[in-house]
Amino acid sequence: MDFSFTEEQKKRREEFYRVCAQLEKDKPHGFSGLESTYDTEAGFNYHLHCAREFAKRGWLSLSWPTEYGGTGNMMDRVLFAEARGYHDIPGVDVFGVQMLAPTLLACASEEIKREFLPMIASGEVQWCELWSEPNAGSDLADLASTAIRDGNDFIVNGQKIWTTGAHFAHWGFGVFKTAPQGKKHHNMSFILFDMKKPGVTIRPIKYMNDFHIYNEVFFDNLRVPAKIVGQENEGWAVVNVLAGFERSGIDEIMRMQRELENAVKYCNETKVDGIPLAKNPLVRNRLAQIAGEIEAARCLAYRVADLQNHNEMTLMDASAVKVFTSDVAERFASLMTDMLGPYGQVKLSRWAPMEGWWERMYQEHFVLSISMGTNEIQKNIMAWYGLSLPRMR
């Protein structure tokens, strides 16, 4: 059992941290996390700026096989995610780079790979994930939107929902029914298409803090060339492959590590009744507990990376990291907003402690627990497939 990095990895990690620290200086005021990427033009432009910096270093294709321009090493991707998380830097399109690219590598034809991988590696193209529908959330396979073949094209109709960043996306990937009369799980295809075509209507769904992250997307006889990942009508198998590439969590964990450092600094510098918060035994106990939880999450995320390196099943550990990290984020936000008292509710303004960070985190932690398979779905997966408990019908 060895948690150490090679000298080569340490060097690369230093380089990742150095570039991210540099990019942090260009960050727009009040920018935080994935959410800020989609809320404003300035946020999205900052994301693209970072993406270009990463693309020119080949960092958007890090773990890809060498014939597609990567280093072939999973650990590089983990180290890069650590640095980005710690400095809270966007620039890695969650949908294109983190989810779609590895899925293409695993499932797509050579033709599709050659068409789309260079596009993803360039950092110029933003993707969105057309997944949930109004009546197909956790039970995604129950979807209703269709893509009906017409020669070499698909005619797309229906509605998707909770589509993060659709308003900035150039391309979309999603699952649509391509054989509406077929059997469940064998009636849909995983397809790719241009989002900037007539027939696509995007309507924002504002988050509780009025941020524009999510959208409803409507398709009205959208005609697109048929670009399929995997086999036609067998998109469900591809969906399951992609699920394995949804966030490893190490970036979120390192973001919390940085938040912890900021919180310690704040507690050391802020006096209540003339005594630094840091001397309050309750604050000490609760922050220490969070610190241990963050470290535990990090160690388990390394375990997931290690399993991937050995080409082994990550199902249990990956779900565990996802659930645990989101729970820690929620507890952390709750603790900090409690600690700040009435000031915990203040938005970014001259009255806000820590730039209103915790007022945002108190709302944004739901992004971790609900998206990419809710925590409850993760626990089902663990119970059914990991522990072989019977599936209730």
Partner: protein, 378 residues
Amino acid sequence: MDLKLTEEQEMLKTSVKDFIAAECPKSKVREMQEDRVGHSPELWKKMAALGWMGLLIPEKYEGMGLSFQDGMVVMEEMGRNILPGPFMSTFVATFAIVEAGSEAQKKEFLPKIARGEMKLSLADMEPNGKFGAGGVTLKAAPKGDGFVLNGAKMFVEMANVADYLVCPARTKEGANSEEGISLFLVDMKSPGILCEVVPTIAMDKLCEVKFENVSILHQALLGEKDRGGVALKNTLRKAALARCADSIGGMQACIDMTVAYMKERVQYERPIGAFQAIQHIVADTWIAMQTARYLAYEAIWLESGGQPADKEASMSKAYVNNAYKLVSKWGIRLHGGIGTSREHDVSLYYLRAKAADTAYGGADYHNELVADKIGLVK
């Protein structure tokens, strides 16, 4: 990075697991718990024959000279099966001798420990119930060529069968609690020692040891006089990690047995494991176990590689304490009534978890150390 056990470690793990399953079934665990002494000389002899007492003792003192990490693989298996008796106490006290002992002391003690001819215990706690150096008040006053001990130790594991105690005592009042501590190797046959087993939740033979004018020779001093605080701290850190490993094994056993029962117990015409209310709890316990496991593995790896990490070790002990309590509590709850019975194995783990919780530092104690290490000003 490679988080797998080595082939040798896998072999060691299997051999310990098989041995304990065969030689110390749960009926034997209960018998030893209920027994007044709680030690089985036959079992001890068989374990000694396999070399386990000398796992981490250097080869030149007749030990196996394995790494700290290897030792923790063994501890995990012992915890999985709730091995009672003086193994843990001897294992932990030996750390202090390996670290602080003179060449003469090592030559005298270590081979005997490795051969299973000597049992030890670390007397870290006192009636004040405080963890760490801050709790050490036992007086060791100079007398002639040696010292005289007056005071008491408390919760000393298996002191009732120990031949020697590694006993921290105060030889000087220091500016902070770690200063002025000396470690002594105290022969339990010394006149003036009174040892009594305290009835505890896990029936694990924690003892009160009273010292009334107990004379000890200068040779009994382990390490430098007044400067035993560092060795005590290092020993306690290793002890805390050993306890973590033991607890991780215990959590695994709890979960394995609970999942098996959830598949087998039928109510409402289906196995109760088919109910999501139960599936989600089982998943939660698994998450608690696995996060605890890798947090502790990291600290163990650091310790094993000679980069002892107080922060990571304290984080681990605080976290594992709570995780083991949670996992074993749900073990009982999901079993229902049968889980609460003395006859069912799962209750043994619940009791063990409480004992583990207070051995070598509770969660609040360790979290206070963590608060310090993450930079909160005191």
